[in-house]
């Protein structure tokens, strides 16, 4: 099962994703958190700490895996719930790695995620909304196009797609139980 969640920065999408992951878990499920962001500076460290604190206080046990490329390599069990946070950092990892072509970054991500979805109980994917403004440069446009392609494929494949606006989940596909 695939749940796709997107929204603006600080819109509450990670928090919703964690709640849904906990709802989807059965007794033997492990909650696996795939953190895809790279610790590039102190601001990024602070962001990561904010997310870690919330998971620590969530009342559930999370196994954290740090993986910014080759997500398919994460070891999983069929009962696992895997939360991927987030697709934009994952795409940055795949787009800028030097050993594989950037032109196929989107295909690698989709194929990794579909494979993970096939061998776990559920994957909950978090991403960020694409901007609604003129693209500031060619590289950004290329990256945004790839992100758009990944989002379109994931929305097509998923059972549930949610856009979070200011903490309010707007269900675009499928349905969810009350998130509270």
């Amino acid at each position: 099962m695939i749940v796709f969640i997107t929204g603006g920065v600080r819109s509450g999408k990670s928090s919703l994703a964690e709640k849904l992951a906990m709802q989807l878990a059965c007794e033997e499920s492990r909650l696996v958190y795939a953190a895809c962001g790279q610790r590039t500076d102190s601001e990024m460290k602070e962001r990561i700490r904010h997310h870690q604190d919330r998971r620590a206080n969530s009342g559930a046990r999370w196994t954290t895996v740090e993986q910014s490329v080759d997500l398919g390599q994460i070891k999983t069990a069929p009962s696992d719930i895997l939360l991927v946070d987030c697709i934009t950092t994952l795409l940055a990892g795949e787009f800028f790695r030097e050993d594989k072509p950037a032109s196929e970054a989107d295909k690698r991500i989709v194929s990794d995620l579909l494979s993970l979805a096939g061998r776990t109980h559920a994957v909950v994917l978090v991403s960020n909304e694409l901007s609604f403004e003129p693209m500031p440069g060619e590289l950004t446009a290329q990256y945004a196009k790839k992100l758009g392609m990944v989002h379109q494929r994931l929305v097509q494949e998923c059972e549930i797609a949610i856009l979070v606006e200011h903490g309010i989940p707007i269900v675009k596909k499928g349905g969810i139980l009350c998130a509270e």
Binding site: E133, P134, A144, K145, H151
Partner: protein, 141 residues
């Protein structure tokens, strides 16, 4: 007229192609990304893609968003009078941070106004979010 909008790379073109079964239906496809001028309409179904780029070209010609809007409205009226299905696809560029550069601000202003005019002139308006369309206006006969 049918106006299809949404953010960049959200699958608007793909949705229009599927919705109007364009792979099996004769149609005219005009892209403002390739050609700045408005075309002569020939087919029963005409798709005009990249409307925001056309607005940008009008702005380059006229200099102010107000003038660009007037030019756009004239063109819109012509399209509206056509006895064919005219589909306009426009990428929504109106929701970002206010740009530093004055021309870019004008471009967004012009796009915002012209999209309002397009929506008002269209019988149907859809926004596309990663391939899922939401109909936000639909006039019945």
């Amino acid at each position: 007229m049918h106006f299809v909008t949404g953010g960049a790379f959200n699958g608007k073109k793909k949705w229009v192609t599927a919705f109007y079964k364009l792979e099996q239906t004769p149609h005219q496809w005009h892209s403002f990304y390739k050609e700045k001028e408005a075309p002569e309409l020939r087919e029963e179904i005409v798709v005009l893609e990249g409307v925001e780029r056309y607005i940008r070209a009008l702005l380059e010609r006229s200099g102010t968003p107000e003038e660009a809007r007037l030019l756009f409205r004239k063109q819109l009226e012509k399209w509206q009078k056509e006895d064919r299905t005219v589909i306009l696809i426009g990428t929504d560029i109106t929701k970002g941070i206010v740009p530093m550069n004055a021309f870019d601000r004008f471009f967004r202003d012009a796009a915002g106004w012209c999209f309002q005019d397009t929506a008002a002139a269209s019988r149907r308006v859809d926004t596309v979010w990663y391939g899922i369309a939401e109909t936000i206006k639909e006039e019945t006969e």
